[in-house]
């Protein structure tokens, strides 16, 4: 039953195939077809949502995909509360971005190819979230990896774009390496890779003592995909791709796959405290680390990229401390406002003839009012100003983090402060202050067409309203006094909750923490206000005073160069040596020299044939003597 569920992933696939094959003929209409395909799958997702709302989990197997020996993997779909939330985000935000792309990619030469890749991405993402076993998760995992490779490298004529695409795919592949080993461990210990199967025999994993290693390896895969330290290096460069791509893939959906995986396998992760601790540590470190880099960056999209890495760090803190629902909630709200920020940035670039350097912007508020307004709403949401969604989701995580360990809360708070600061810096430099736009660009700044602004407005509404469904219990006396979002997801995390003792937050502590986070957010904004609007503190002066720190930050801690020199070059040099020395000199040398030796031997042997009859006779006599001697002394 519920066979309709397969329509959801197959519609984008169909769209991708149509656009792929007939893209160059469809030209303009490709965008329309792609958007319709995503809309249909969104509508069916809503229908599935209502079914899941009243408690039934949809499980439907189409055919057995791989069956060899005792390893079986079915092409089956499991839609429960967690996946329906993800599907709503993916198809909803995906649809808005498709509509936005119609405007943004207007006039592009190979727009058919673009929308085909975009639809293919959505298909892979849906398979990732809807699959009922690890192998389909892996399918979706690599599928989105390829689509991000293709979309980042969409402007392939630019050397940097194709390089960034390759870098993204290889970084993901390193993560997938860990993910694959994780799957092998699980399969070889309990013989099945379906979620239900793993959940059922998770204590067998515990007994075999492989839970920690499996969890950590799976987390390595998550780091690769969700750009956590140390595998985050590809996300900033991924900004080479078109902005809707950054919005969809590198903000809303793909990067959250790691969080989804940890949430989906909550029963596994929860059983290994070490793994949870590692997740929290990496999450916190990445959150802070990325935030620091965002402070000094002047490229509008790269700032947002670092902010995404930082927010992902928060999500991992959430799932790391065991508050899976909070993590997923932040994932959802983040999808809304980060997509909005990216699309807004895209709109700004679009109207400023693709200018990305915020130092050449300013005072755009009056000229592109709708973009500015929606951008400001998203800014308030991400900074954690109530009643915007960002406040509720981030605060929920920080609250649980405090219970886990106050130190984590402190770092989280610092991160929140930095987030508020750099986002405000971004907004003030872009929309307020004096205009630093070149004159001829300034002449024809124009508001973007409705096809781009409407999605912005919808996302703005979502960023505002999104937070309400997850209002923490303390505040929710208006709506029946409990956190609707957490309750909705509770059955999925029942196993995890039952394992680790649920920790209750006293209301008083909750209010205190809320107040603290509001103050931090306002403090961050006020500091940015002082620096960039009132010019009370000259940012450049500070930059000079801490010039060393500033230089390190602006060069992104020299991580890229470090990886280049530390890992890539040695491998390339070693392979060169392998090829030139081992292959040609040693093996071929041996083979050819064997040939030469034989050749030399025969040349010598040939010399024996002198042509003199005497020599022949004497050789014969020597032979005779040898034989007779042999017989004498035998």
């Amino acid at each position: 039953m519920h066979d309709f569920i397969w329509i959801i992933p197959l519609m984008p696939l169909l769209g991708a195939i149509i656009n792929g094959l007939f893209g160059h003929i469809l030209k303009g209409k490709a965008g329309f077809i792609a958007s319709v395909a995503v809309l249909i799958s969104f509508l069916y997702t809503v229908r599935a949502f209502f079914i899941v709302m009243d408690g039934t989990i949809i499980h439907n197997e189409l055919f057995t995909w791989i069956q060899a020996g005792d390893f079986t993997a079915g092409a089956a779909v499991l839609v429960d509360q967690l996946s329906i939330v993800m599907m709503l985000v993916v198809t909803g935000v995906g649809f808005l971005i498709h509509v936005y792309s119609n405007g943004y990619m207007h006039g592009d030469r190979t727009v058919g190819k673009f929308f085909s890749y975009l639809n293919l991405f959505l298909f892979s993402m849906l398979m990732l979230v809807m699959g009922d076993n690890l192998l389909l998760l892996y399918l979706g995992w690599e599928g989105v990896g390829v689509c991000s490779y293709l979309l980042i490298g969409y402007f392939y004529e630019k050397e940097s774009a194709s390089k960034a695409g390759l870098k993204a795919f290889l970084a993901n592949r390193v993560g997938d390496f860990g993910f694959a080993i994780g799957i092998f461990i699980i399969f070889s210990t309990i013989g099945t890779i379906t979620y239900a199967g793993i959940e059922g025999q998770v204590d067998k994993l515990m007994a075999a003592g492989v839970v920690t290693s499996a969890a950590l390896l799976l987390f390595m895969g998550a780091c690769g995909k969700s750009a956590q330290f140390p595998l985050y290096i590809w996300l900033p460069d991924a900004m080479e791709g078109p902005t809707p791509v950054s919005a969809l893939i590198h903000a809303a959906t793909m990067v959250t796959a790691g969080v989804y995986m940890v949430a989906r396998l909550s029963f596994l992760f929860v059983r290994s405290d070490v793994a949870m601790m590692v997740i929290v540590i990496i999450g916190t470190f990445t959150a802070l680390f990325a935030a620091t880099m965002a402070l000094v960056n002047n490229d509008i999209k790269r700032v947002l990229a670092y902010s995404t890495i930082s927010q992902l760090g928060y999500m991992f803190i959430g799932v790391g401390v065991g508050a899976f629902a909070a993590g997923v909630f932040h994932l959802m709200t983040h999808a809304f406002f980060k997509a909005l920020l990216f699309l807004g940035a895209g709109a700004v670039m679009h109207s400023l003839a693709d200018e990305t350097d915020i130092r050449k912007m300013g005072n755009l508020y009056g000229k592109i009012k709708i973009t500015a307004l929606t951008f400001i709403m998203a800014w308030l949401a991400i900074s954690g100003i109530p009643p915007f969604s960002g406040f509720f989701s981030k605060d929920e995580i920080l609250a649980h983090a405090f219970l886990y360990s106050p130190l984590v809360w402190v770092f989280g708070a610092i991160g929140a402060f930095l987030t508020a600061f750099y986002m405000s810096r971004l907004v003030f430099l872009t929309f307020f202050g004096e205009s630093r736009v070149e004159p001829e660009v300034e002449k024809h700044i124009h508001e973007n067409p409705p096809v781009m602004t409407i999605p912005l407005m919808v996302l703005a509404v979502l960023s505002v309203v999104g937070g309400l469904i997850g209002i923490p219990a303390g505040l929710a006396y208006l709506w029946g006094g409990e956190n609707h979002f957490a309750n909705f997801l509770s059955p999925v995390f029942a196993n995890a909750a039952s394992y680790s003792e649920p920790h209750h937050i006293s209301h008083a502590l909750e209010y205190g923490l809320m107040a603290a986070s509001i103050l931090i957010a306002l403090g961050g904004i006020y500091l940015a206000y002082l620096m960039y609007i009132k010019k009370a503190m000259d940012p450049d002066a500070i930059a000079n005073r801490f010039s060393g720190a500033y230089k390190v930050l602006s060069n992104k801690y020299y991580v890229d160069e470090g990886v280049e020199a530390g890992i890539l070059n040695p491998i390339v040099r070693f392979s060169q040596w392998l090829w030139h020395f081992v292959d040609t000199r040693v093996i071929d040398g041996f083979v050819n020299s064997a040939g030469k030796i034989v050749w030399l031997l025969s040349l010598i042997a040939r010399r024996v044939q002198t042509g003199y009859v005497q020599h022949y006779a004497s050789v014969m006599v020597v032979g005779v003597i040898l034989i007779l001697a042999y017989y004498i002394f035998r």
Binding site: R606, R607, Q609, T610, G611, V613, A617, V621
Partner: protein
């Protein structure tokens, strides 16, 4: 005719010595004809052995064999000298060292 007064191995040793001389002659001498003569010497050494054995064994096969060898040697001489004469006519030399076209 009584048994032979000279013991058998005397003959054998003589024949072996003759044979050795023939072989040395073939190796050392440079002139084709002289080489051929030393080969004949070797054949005669063999004849001597045959006769000695035949007498010692008191059967006639050895003697018959000697005749065969002589006949063959004669035929060989005919053909061999014909070749040597042909070479001499063409190359004015029978010096074996000069005849060295075919080598390596």
């Amino acid at each position: 005719m009584g048994t032979l007064s000279i013991p058998l191995h005397y003959f054998l040793i003589l024949a072996a010595v003759l044979f050795g001389l023939g072989v040395i002659g073939v190796i050392t001498r440079r002139n084709a004809i002289v080489i051929f003569m030393s080969i004949e010497l070797m054949l005669n050494a063999v004849n001597l052995t045959f006769v000695a054995f035949s007498n010692y064994l008191n059967n006639v096969e050895g003697h018959i064999f000697v005749f065969m060898v002589m006949v063959v040697a004669a035929a060989e001489v005919a053909v061999g000298l014909a070749i040597i004469v042909a070479i001499f006519r063409l190359r004015e030399t029978v010096h074996v060292d000069d005849i060295r076209l075919l080598k390596w």
